[in-house]
């Protein structure tokens, strides 16, 4: 087990490193030098060249990367070319927003998805078909479109929720929750549908296992067969599905952030990509990767713990 964890940790570290290199190269391929980006359109070529020299833009790529990596390990991701703010500080402010969004949407979609999937598998018949059709529709609806409809219905028509904006938890927990509600629901719609399908398929597969018959032959009550034995058997792929969902949502929250004016990581990527703010893009790619890889690692270990065969080996 310890060996397994160590191996996985090493893998995770390697993943982050590969992404860091990739991000570095992408950023260097961006049009315009940092000096040009930073000084804007009106700047003279001399001023741009001087700033580029100062930023080390003309150094060999190799040494630039290791300079960046050395700083990054110490928590310094450089300075934004646009507003001169520390990228690390900016991302530290933004991380909680995206984390709340992604975690909230993952939890909500897991609850709704598992409930729908289990119901469809267990009840069968007409209800299964109705849920199947509903889930199929949810999968096909673009999240941003759902979000706008939600805004229209719940914020414009009846002002239950604020239409846009984010209130930090420290300011007011209640407003924080209200400000998260619509974006979380928006993101959870597709996620719930995905998890519902995964759950239904896994539950049906679990119920086809022969040990279910043994359980019935020893008079195990139906609820116990379904919710202890079958759901337990089905839990492995379901947890894996939830992990994928979180990975998708963590970066994918960009649309909800844009739509609801949430100051999260996604918004940071979107603006920094539009403005060619190289250090900011590089920083956010690496931070997002670190978070996603870490969560993935934890969930993978959880999955291993759920399966006796893997736990023992």
């Amino acid at each position: 087990m310890a060996l397994f964890v160590a191996k996985r940790l090493l893998m995770a570290l390697a993943t982050v490193l590969v992404v860091a290199v990739l991000a570095f190269l992408l950023v260097h391929a961006m049009p315009g030098s940092p000096g040009a980006v930073s000084l804007g359109a009106g700047a003279s070529q001399d001023a741009i060249d001087q700033l580029n020299q100062q930023l080390g833009w003309n150094d060999p790529l190799f040494s630039q990367f290791f300079r960046w990596l050395g700083d990054a390990v110490q928590g310094n991701l450089g300075v934004s070319l646009i507003d001169g703010r520390s990228v690390s500080a900016d991302l530290a402010d933004r991380l909680p927003v995206t984390a709340s969004l992604a975690a909230g949407a993952t939890v909500l979609s897991a609850i709704i998805g598992i409930a729908l999937g289990v119901t469809a598998a267990v009840r069968g018949g007409l209800l299964d078909q109705i849920i199947g059709g509903f889930v199929g529709l949810l999968v096909a609806l673009p999240a941003f479109w759902v979000g706008i409809i939600l805004v229209y219905l719940l914020a414009v028509q009846s002002s239950v929720f604020p239409a846009t904006g984010y209130v930090p938890f420290e300011v007011s927990p209640q407003d924080w929750a209200l400000s998260l509600a619509l974006p979380v629901i928006t993101l959870a719609v597709g996620g719930a549908a995905f998890i519902a399908r995964q759950t239904r398929a896994s539950m049906l597969e679990a119920l086809q296992q022969e040990h279910i018959r043994t359980l019935r032959a020893t008079a195990t009550p139906t609820w116990k067969i379904l919710y202890i034995h079958a759901l337990r058997y089905a839990s492995l792929p379901i947890v894996a599905g939830i992990a994928l969902q979180f990975i998708g949502l963590f970066g994918g929250s960009v649309i909800a952030e844009q739509l609801f004016a949430m100051p999260g990581l996604g918004q940071a990527v979107q603006t920094s990509v539009s403005t060619h703010d190289a250090p900011a893009v590089q920083g956010v790619v690496v931070i997002a990767t670190v978070v996603v890889v870490a969560v993935n690692l934890v969930l993978e270990l959880a999955t291993k713990f759920l399966d006796p065969k893997l736990r023992a080996s």
């Binding site: 893998m11 390697a14 993943t15 590969v18 992404v19 990739l22 992408l26 950023v27 391929a29 961006m30 598998a121 267990v122 009840r123 069968g124 018949g125 007409l126 299964d128 199929g136 096909a140 673009p142 941003f144 479109w145 706008i148 409809i149 229209y152 414009v156 597709g190 995905f194 399908r197 995964q198 398929a201 597969e205 022969e210 040990h211 279910i212 018959r213 043994t214 359980l215 032959a217 020893t218 008079a219 195990t220 058997y233 792929p237 599905g241 990975i247 949502l249 970066g251 960009v254 990581l265 996604g266 990527v269 979107q270 920094s272 539009s274 790619v285 997002a288 990767t289 996603v292 399966d307």
Partner: protein, 702 residues
């Protein structure tokens, strides 16, 4: 949101299905597959509608300049932000541009660039899977890389790429395809590997076909359906992602219209012109829905195994069937009334059928007295297991008792409700099944499963149940019971697992044990041990056993009574000794003649008998004798229905009009010549799967 770069969720249904369809005929493989797929496609109304919609969209979009009433950039300032009107069927946007025209002008580009993701993603994923399936080391490397790819925040990376290359949509969609290929690889790999391990692939390797040749000729055709399914699903995801990117401002350069960009424009006017949201959103959703419908229709598994716990809807259906049986006037014949005894089972005229009306078991009757063992014998497909499972009310979904009675202590279990059966199962009637490993829950320890059953069935406390569990394990001959209690099923051997399964069956102190081929999956020495354990248990506890088997050796070993079943009927029954020594039905004769163990060493025939042909499918059963088509003695009299008649050997019965004649003339089932076709290499149509002892052909005397 950009959906996770993950295998599409509908796959779970289909990964298992296509291999079976692909494997058997390699020549016809490709054609057969496409046929199957097409059939599935057109069987689904959703998929047909989806195909029509996509086709209409493509045609309308490509011919747009010819028929569209407005150019995409025509601005009509007299009708800004209008709803549907006669001039603008779907309304106009904030610049008075016609929404209908813009939707169709954008369609071809959206569909075309999504196709790039499909081609790159599915192509790369499939290539990787085929390469990995062929070589283990390659697989390890590729799997590692794809694992890493799947654990990346895909959206963020795509956005960073956009930062570097700009909004070059075709290039971005291609890179998206690369990111998504990891998920597709994972879906395709399992199937590619199972195709690689087919025997005909081994044969091709021996023939010297190169790995690439094998992949292209033998693996790729088998993957066709999966590939098409994945392509449809990825197509849908690609469209959603592309629209999402356009929505956040990374669409095709303005003023070129895009669906995501149009929805973004509409979102600015959700306060004053909410209608604008509707047309573009609906067209996008419909298009995605169409692609998904096609993928799902193709990916649907045709014959998924039935669940062992039927769904609530199926249970309701069955409850109705049971109520109908209970309501039917039961024939009050004399022997049904006579015995409300202790642990007596009388099955009367039992019929079991598929819910669509095909009968699997018809008119089966037998009795089991307390403390005796009844063997149900016959080839596969004769209805033995269905008969046995009906005793416990554990028939698979879609199969139910359609008539007759199962009298347990005088009570008709065929008409018992699900709740009543729950009181019978485990406490009165218990089950052991063929594959002990699969019969135990892999997620729980042996100890948990045993104590849970004991507490439930015997109402014991936790500690008491725990010690009883140990006693039971010792009773079934497990020496280190304490250790076994702590193990998971995958940690013990098959023989050990069968002992645990028997202990589990005994946990409610049942008076009847239904054993469905309990020794078939075990090796020979373990078989003998399990049989002697069962014999000892019958002796000690006085319980009775219904033993389903195709092995006449098992029958001779343990059974007091035998019912020989053929094609859903009992064809002969009676005392074991009488039937083995003096069989009356030709089928029994044939089974004995074909069994190498049933013949003494000194009079072992030079050639063992065979029974030509196979057990007919239930839908093909004739009205007359069901064995007639394979019987050496069949005549014209066999065309009429045959009743069970007294066989003249004690209380036995036999279902053969010629039984007496055969007995008088002392005729034997002859070992016929091996058909010529059988001797030729595998080309023959007759070579069916290994068919138990009955197809054993020759016995070496040396």
């Amino acid at each position: 949101m950009i959906p996770s770069v993950a295998p599409a969720p509908a796959d779970a249904d289909q990964t298992a299905s296509t291999t079976s369809a692909a494997a058997p005929r390699r020549r016809a493989g490709k054609a057969a597959l496409t046929k199957v797929s097409r059939y599935r496609l057109f069987a689904s109304p959703g998929a047909v509608a989806g195909l029509l919609w996509l086709a209409a969209l493509v045609v309308a979009s490509l011919t747009a300049p010819l028929w569209l009433p407005f150019k995409t950039e025509d601005q009509d300032f007299t009708a800004v932000l209008s709803g549907p009107t006669a001039a603008h069927w779907l309304g106009t946007d904030e610049l008075g541009r016609d929404i209908l025209s813009r939707i169709f002008a954008a369609a071809a580009g959206t569909l075309g660039t999504s196709l790039i993701t499909v081609i790159v993603g599915v192509g790369l994923g499939t290539l990787l899977a085929m390469a990995a399936a062929g070589a283990e080391r390659t697989e390890a490397v590729i799997s590692r890389i794809t694992e890493v790819m799947m654990s990346l925040p895909g959206t963020v990376i795509i956005l960073a790429v956009i930062g570097a290359v700009g909004t070059n949509i075709p290039l971005i969609m291609a890179i998206l395809g690369i990111l998504m290929s990891a998920g597709i690889y994972r879906v395709v790999l399992g199937q590619a590997k199972s195709l690689q391990s087919q025997l005909y692939v081994d044969a091709a390797k021996v023939d010297g076909l190169s790995p690439v040749g094998i992949s292209v000729r033998h693996v790729l055709p088998g993957l066709a359906n999966t590939i098409v399914v994945q392509a449809a699903l990825i197509f849908a995801v690609g469209m959603l992602i592309q629209a999402g990117l356009a929505f956040i401002g990374f669409g095709p350069p303005l003023p070129q219209p895009s669906w995501g960009g149009m929805i973004q424009g509409a979102s600015q006017h959700v306060y004053d012109a909410p209608w604008m949201m509707v047309p573009t959103g609906a067209v996008l959703a419909l298009t995605v829905l169409s692609a998904n419908a096609i993928g799902n229709a193709l990916g649907k598994a045709p014959n998924a195994a039935a669940p062992h716990l039927p769904s609530a809807a199926a249970r309701r259906h069955r409850a109705q069937a049971v109520a109908a049986i209970a309501a039917a006037p039961a024939p009050k014949d004399a022997d049904a009334q006579e015995a409300p005894g202790n642990g007596t089972l009388s099955v009367r005229n039992l019929s079991v059928g598929v819910d669509n009306g095909v009968g699997l078991v018809t008119g089966v009757s037998f009795d089991v007295a307390p403390g005796t063992v009844l063997g149900l014998v016959g080839e596969s497909g004769c209805g033995k297991t269905m008969t046995a499972l009906s005793l416990l009310g554990l028939l698979p979904s879609g199969v139910s008792v359609s008539g007759g009675q199962i009298l347990w202590n005088g009570r008709n279990l065929a008409a018992a409700t699900g709740k009543d059966m729950e009181g019978i199962r485990g406490r009165d009637i218990a089950l052991i099944s063929q594959e002990p490993m699969r019969a135990l829950d892999p997620m729980f320890t042996v100890g948990y499963q045993l104590t849970a059953a004991i507490r439930r069935l015997r109402g014991m406390g936790k500690a008491e149940a725990r010690s009883e569990a140990r006693n039971l394990l010792e009773k079934v001959g497990i020496v280190d019971a304490q250790r076994i209690l702590k193990t998971y099923p995958h940690q013990i051997s098959g023989g050990m697992a069968q002992r645990v399964a028997i202990a589990l069956a005994l946990s409610g102190q049942p008076r009847l044990l239904v054993a469905d081929e309990p020794t078939t999956a075990l090796d020979v020495t373990v078989q003998a041990e399990i049989l002697s354990l069962l014999r000892a248990l019958v002796k000690d506890t006085g319980m009775s056993v219904v033993m389903v088997t195709h092995d006449l050796g098992v029958v001779a070993d343990i059974c007091d009574q035998v019912a020989v079943m053929y094609a859903g009927q009992v064809v002969e029954n009676g005392k074991t000794a009488a039937i083995l020594d003096n069989p009356r039905h030709p089928y029994t004769l044939a089974l004995l003649a074909a069994d190498p163990h049933a013949n003494d060493a000194d009079n072992m025939p030079e050639r063992l008998a065979t029974i030509q042909g196979q057990v007919p499918q239930p839908k093909d059963w004739p009205t007359g004798c069901r064995f007639a088509a394979r019987c050496q003695f069949a005549g014209s009299a066999c065309k009429d229905p045959v009743p069970l008649l007294a066989s003249g050997t004690g209380e036995g019965l036999v279902r053969c009009v010629k039984a007496d004649q055969l007995a008088v003339e002392g005729m034997d089932w002859l070992a016929t010549d091996v058909p010529v076709a059988r001797l030729l290499p595998i080309s023959s149509q007759h070579t069916t799967a290994a068919h138990q002892h009955t197809t054993v052909i020759e016995k070496d005397l040396a």
